[in-house]
């Protein structure tokens, strides 16, 4: 990008004026926050009494405290189910919609609805759907002659919450994949047809390789979202004393800081989360170099 408008004279001032909010955000919002959180993670502070140094004890807790370890396993389990779920289902839906059948616009609206509305509002309905005695799902199961299930009990809550999170994310994934699919030239399929390639072959030999950029992008976004997943978990699995039946890391951070006033410990967990996401991203970009096909 060699070309660019050159600011003249006093315009130099205006250039920096336009950039000032972004500078403030970068210095205070981003850099300052990261440094502050790192510093806090080595401290003990409840915001009521003066802070004291804690050395690495907050980090030792990350590997010793059973609750914190559980939250980490929960986040990993959640991500391992959520990411493939979102990517596969939304790719599948997008492929179906890309078949140029009538009424696609209506379907698109329907599938996108959960992505527009707040998780808090829809979680209230899901709570009614999952209800043990009065829920719709168990009502259907009983009608089919099956045993009712306690969907939001500890043993099932993880699956119940993953399902709702996937339900809420399909709309966006579908749009990403539709954009990727429509970019594939029709001629490729016509040529494959002439050579007698089956639909199955066309899908795995043409569609999948050519949507790898979208698959990559969607996997990346879904992973970030999985690590951030909070709203449905808060709304569906909350229990007494701010506890949850599926305490993921994000939930645990909130609880540590705002229920237990352990801001140092929560900061260490936030750093843990950041490092984990950064490592995963590095791994993804390594995969991208090997497997993603860019035309």
């Amino acid at each position: 990008m060699e070309y660019g408008l050159k600011p003249l004279g006093r315009e130099r001032f205006w250039l920096w004026a336009l950039l000032t909010p972004t500078f403030i955000g970068l210095i205070f919002g981003a850099l300052g926050s990261v440094i502050a959180t790192v510093v806090l993670s080595f401290a003990k502070w409840d915001l009521l009494t003066p802070p004291s140094w804690a050395g690495v004890s907050n980090y030792v807790e990350l590997f010793k405290d059973e609750k914190i370890l559980l939250s980490l396993t929960n986040t990993i389990k959640f991500t391992a189910m959520y990411v493939p779920g979102v990517v596969i289902i939304s790719l599948f839906v997008a492929v179906l919609m890309n078949r140029r059948i009538r009424g696609v616009g209506l379907f698109r609206t329907a599938y996108f609805l959960p992505a527009v509305t707040s998780a808090v509002a829809t979680a209230l309905v899901w709570n009614m759907i999952y209800g043990r005695d009065t829920g719709i799902l168990n009502f259907i199961l009983e009608r089919l002659g099956l045993q009712p299930v306690c969907w939001l009990c500890t043993e099932n809550a993880m699956y119940a919450v993953v399902i709702v999170n996937i339900w809420g994310a399909i709309g966006e994934g579908m749009i990403i994949f539709l954009a990727g699919l429509t970019a594939i030239p029709r001629e490729y399929y016509e040529a494959a047809e002439m050579d007698g390639a089956s639909g199955f072959h066309q899908f795995f030999r043409i569609t999948v390789p050519l949507v790898t950029p979208s698959i990559f992008f969607q996997t990346l976004i879904s992973t970030i979202n999985a690590f951030q997943a909070y709203d449905y978990i808060y709304m569906l699995t909350r229990r007494g004393q701010g506890d949850s039946s599926v305490p993921v890391v994000v939930f645990s951070i909130y609880r540590n800081a705002w229920n237990f006033f352990n801001y140092g410990g929560a900061s260490a967990q936030a750093i843990e989360l950041t490092v984990l996401v950064a490592l995963l991203m590095a791994f993804y970009f390594w995969l991208e170099r090997r497997y993603v096909v860019y035309e």
Binding site: Y3, G4, L5, K6, E11, W14, L18, L19, P21, T22, I24, G25, L26, G29, A30, S33, V34, A36, T37, L40, L47, L96, M97, I101, F107, R108, A110, Y111, F112, L113, V116, S118, A119, V120, A121, T122, L124, V125, M128, I129, T134, I136, F139, I170, G171, I176, G180, A183, S214, F217, Q228, Y230, D231, Y254, A257, W258, S267, A270, L273, T274
Partner: protein, 279 residues
């Protein structure tokens, strides 16, 4: 089996699958709609059409003891302030990055993009401490103020779009003696409307639906947002309460976004594609 036959069977299967999926996607919304018009005594009835149709749930929602209107108003003005702040400050920066040539531009832009990797929890704890010392917890300031210092996502989205606006326009304006700020305000802001609209929708949606930040900054009912309010009412349900009223509240809370979505579906969908494809 002829080729044509095979295609129509595939079409039929696609229809059936899409229809089944659509029922699963829309079903919960229909249930919300239906329950909000049911009598509290029918709250667990398993029929989609309310046995007896009533508007009482909405009346109760707006009665004094729930103060739903205050929640709604809080969500509305906070979301609007956040949207205005983001549009303005992101557009300002995006214009500089896309159009102006200055020293350190690319380094600065890369630094900005790197902030996308910082999880919100990392900024939340120090921000909370600062706002606590400023005695602003319980007010809406911590929610909307940070929207006025730009953001990586919005700046990136707008910059991508600004890059597609023809340079000749800038050159012509320069010949006519237009200043930097005039070029920004008179050319890029009007021509950038599609991307600005997409960003406005995303930002408003994110702000309206946000739970975590209002939970931290405005944690007590009634002076809070719709999301925190609804979560609080849900918690009260364990002591007995009306699911019908709760559903009416949920319905009202998603209404503004549904309306925006039905009128601006194109911007919604193109915005996602814009942020996803042109990396």
């Amino acid at each position: 089996m002829t080729h044509q036959n095979q295609k129509s069977i595939l079409d039929l299967v696609s229809y059936a699958l899409l229809l089944l999926g659509a029922v699963l996607m829309v079903g919960p919304f229909l249930w919300m709609l239906s329950t909000s018009f049911k009598l509290p005594s029918d709250q667990f009835s398993k029929t989609l059409i309310p046995p007896t149709f009533t508007l009482d749930n909405f009346r109760e929602l707006f009665s004094v003891n729930i103060n739903f209107l205050l929640l709604f108003w809080n969500s509305a003005y906070i979301s609007i302030l956040i949207t205005v702040g983001q549009l303005l400050t992101c557009a300002m920066a995006a214009f500089c990055f896309a159009v102006v040539k200055f020293k350190g531009r690319d380094t600065l832009f890369t630094a900005l993009l790197l902030t996308l990797l910082i999880p919100p929890q990392v900024t939340l704890i120090p921000d909370f401490i600062i706002f606590k010392y400023l005695r602003l917890i319980g007010t809406s300031v911590p929610l909307w103020l940070p929207a006025f210092w730009g953001g990586a996502f919005g700046t990136f989205l707008l910059r991508q779009y600004f890059l597609t606006i023809p340079r000749d326009l800038v050159d012509a304006a320069r010949v006519d003696g237009a200043s930097l700020v005039q070029i920004f305000w008179k050319i890029y802001m009007p021509l950038g409307k599609p991307a600005l609209a997409a960003l406005a929708i995303f930002t408003f949606q994110g702000a309206w639906n946000d739970l975590l930040h209002p939970l931290v900054y405005m944690p007590s009912v009634p002076n809070t947002t719709l999301t925190v309010g609804l979560a609080f009412f849900q918690q009260q349900m364990t002591h007995g309460g009306k699911f019908t009223v709760l559903m009416a509240g949920a319905l009202i809370s998603i209404l503004p976004l549904l309306i925006v979505f039905f009128f601006a579906q194109k911007q919604f969908i193109e915005g996602i594609a814009l942020s996803g494809v042109k990396r």
